[in-house]
Amino acid sequence: MKPDYQLKRVEEDSDDAMAEISSVSPSAGQNLTRRGLFASIVTAGAALVALTEPANADTAAQKKAKAKCKKKKGYKWDSKKKKCVKRSSSGGSYCSCNLVCTCDLVYY
């Protein structure tokens, strides 16, 4: 059967009076029963505030360096170290179901 995940209306019930964003627990994808997937529920406003004011936001200089780095071939931005680092490469560039990459993940 053809999968259908297009954006479309879904059924609401009495619990859905407010638009709510669910906070996803760090165990997502690891929880076999998939229970307790959502850590908490917040309003869209609270989510927006949390997302637009991250605690470890990049400084203006870092933002500039990141943008420059993204354009530099063979380099990537390391968000933990907050600096531009060279991509490591070794082995072939082909990755598939039958040939496991030994380099940075580079697909055709």
Binding site: D15, A19, G29, T102
Partner: protein, 469 residues
């Protein structure tokens, strides 16, 4: 009187909605690489915006709309599609050599049925021709290197003379042309010490098939003369590791292996540090055609459990179809002029179709060498292969995973559906579940509320680069 027209918000991203547990929905914009989880009202407000209803301007939802703006779902610039489409005469810079159909193992699930088919060995001149073709293409196109990959249909190291001679030829040619050269091999790991030494000192990487648990390895991957292969493969992996060779491990999971997958992954991760550990359900092809499928919910559950076990040991496991962080309109090189040479010198676009007398060879073999040693290409077959991209699969058009999986494997689709039109397979369910996990993990890692894209996406990610080759 001045009338102020308030502009209604516009949905500007291809957005998918995936039902989750507890009446929640995953809202995913793959081409923006953003996602969040909300309730039905969140989804329906997005629909209000899409339909241009008056509720789309309701001040009570302004925060929600702003959240979608941050995610690039509303009022953003048009999103480019990650479409690469090849045209013209193929100019590959990478050659895969199917050195032989012979094998020193008799794996129960071998898709190639190595050992049951006629033994073929590639002669050095066939390999040289392929190498010279890609090397000269690379030089002409100004690339910094060309690549040679030794692959199967059998165990490539069984044709040791052609492997080593072709490598020496490529090394000399690279020097002559003044460009770089990289080489790697797929192998079952049943090698002599002298071969291991050579591989460590000459190749840039190896992809080793190894199923983890020694009992399962010995049962499913016995040697041609009988007896298990686990101790030899463990020895090879140990030597690769000691020698500093970058290597990956590919674990094949049969239905009977599923309950032992965690144990297998723990076995590998506690002993080895592969650059990449890939776990794939066995293909119901070749010798395993009539075996029970492993593309099941039990596999998905076992994969999730194995992922937890692997991470506890500092490793990550991968499945080829679930690739969040990578946007593409194709699964592999079959649509991208992938250039693989059979022992007889035919050009195949697929790693799994390695001989001209195989089923579907007339689909995947798109070239040959003429009397003068020049490559000639069948335009009709090439055009068909190039057209097998996900953006042309009607079946995939409304699937949230399409830009990540790229439409999955064309060869498997043909084997399952028996027609040229992609109709999905059991793998699609595995892909969707594991892709969903990856999106949820991205949200969780981003603080739990919304994933706003990766900063360290792989180089292969092609969003924003609409180019025709």
């Amino acid at each position: 009187m001045t009338e102020i027209c308030q502009r209604l918000p516009k949905v500007t991203a291809e957005t998918f909605v995936v039902p989750l547990e507890e009446k929640r929905y995953l809202i995913y914009a793959p081409l923006r690489e953003t996602a969040c989880v909300g309730n039905a009202r969140v989804v329906n407000h997005l629909m209000d915006c899409k339909e241009g209803s008056t509720r789309a301007a309701d001040p009570a939802y302004e925060d929600l709309r702003n959240l979608f703006r941050v995610m690039g779902i509303l009022d953003a610039r048009a999103e480019p599609k990650p479409i690469t489409r090849f045209k013209g005469t193929p100019e590959p810079t990478e050659v895969t050599l199917f050195l032989t159909t012979a094998c020193n193992l008799r794996c129960t699930y071998c898709y190639a049925q190595a050992g049951d088919t006629a033994k073929k060995f590639m002669k050095p001149d066939v390999a040289f021709r392929g190498i010279e073709f890609v090397a000269r293409n690379a030089a002409r196109l100004g690339r910094d290197k060309f690549a040679v990959i030794y692959h199967g249909g059998g165990e490539p190291t069984v044709n040791w003379p052609t492997l080593t001679e072709s490598h020496a030829f490529a090394t000399t040619l690279a020097k002559e042309l003044g460009i770089g050269f990289s080489s790697s091999t797929a192998t079952n790991g049943v090698l002599r010490d002298s071969q291991i030494d050579w591989i460590v000192s000459h190749l840039n990487g190896a992809s080793v098939s190894f199923d983890g648990s020694p009992e399962l390895q010995d049962e499913h991957r016995p040697k041609v003369g009988g007896g298990g292969s686990s101790s030899q493969v463990i020895h090879t992996l140990t030597r690769f590791q000691e020698g500093g060779l970058p290597y990956g491990i590919r674990v094949t999971v049969t239905a009977d292996h599923i309950p032992h997958l965690v144990e297998s992954v723990k076995f590998i991760c506690s002993r080895f540090k592969p650059k990449r550990l890939q776990v794939e359900p066995a293909y119901q092809m070749g010798r395993w055609k009539d075996a029970p499928s492993a593309e099941t919910d039990a596999f998905i559950d076992a994969f999730r459990e194995a992922q937890v076990a692997a991470r506890a040991l500092g490793q990550e496991i991968y499945f080829s179809g679930a690739k969040v962080g990578h946007l593409s309109n194709h699964f592999c090189g079959v649509t991208q002029d992938s250039f693989s040479l059979s022992p007889d010198g035919g050009v195949s676009g697929c790693f799994e179709v390695f001989a001209e007398d195989e089923k579907d060879a007339d689909v995947f073999f798109y070239g040959h060498t003429d009397d003068k040693g020049q490559f000639q290409f069948n335009k009709k077959r090439l055009a068909n292969l190039r057209a097998q991209t996900v953006d042309r699969h009607a079946f995939c058009s409304t699937c949230f995973a399409k830009w990540n999986c790229g439409g999955d494997c064309y060869n498997k689709s043909l084997k399952v559906n028996g027609s040229a039109e992609f109709q999905g397979s059991d793998r699609c369910h595995v892909i969707r579940e594991l892709t969903k996990d990856q999106i949820l993990e991205r949200i969780a890692k981003a603080g739990g509320l919304a994933w706003l894209g990766d900063e360290e996406s792989p180089e292969g990610k092609s969003a924003g680069k609409e180019f025709l080759l």
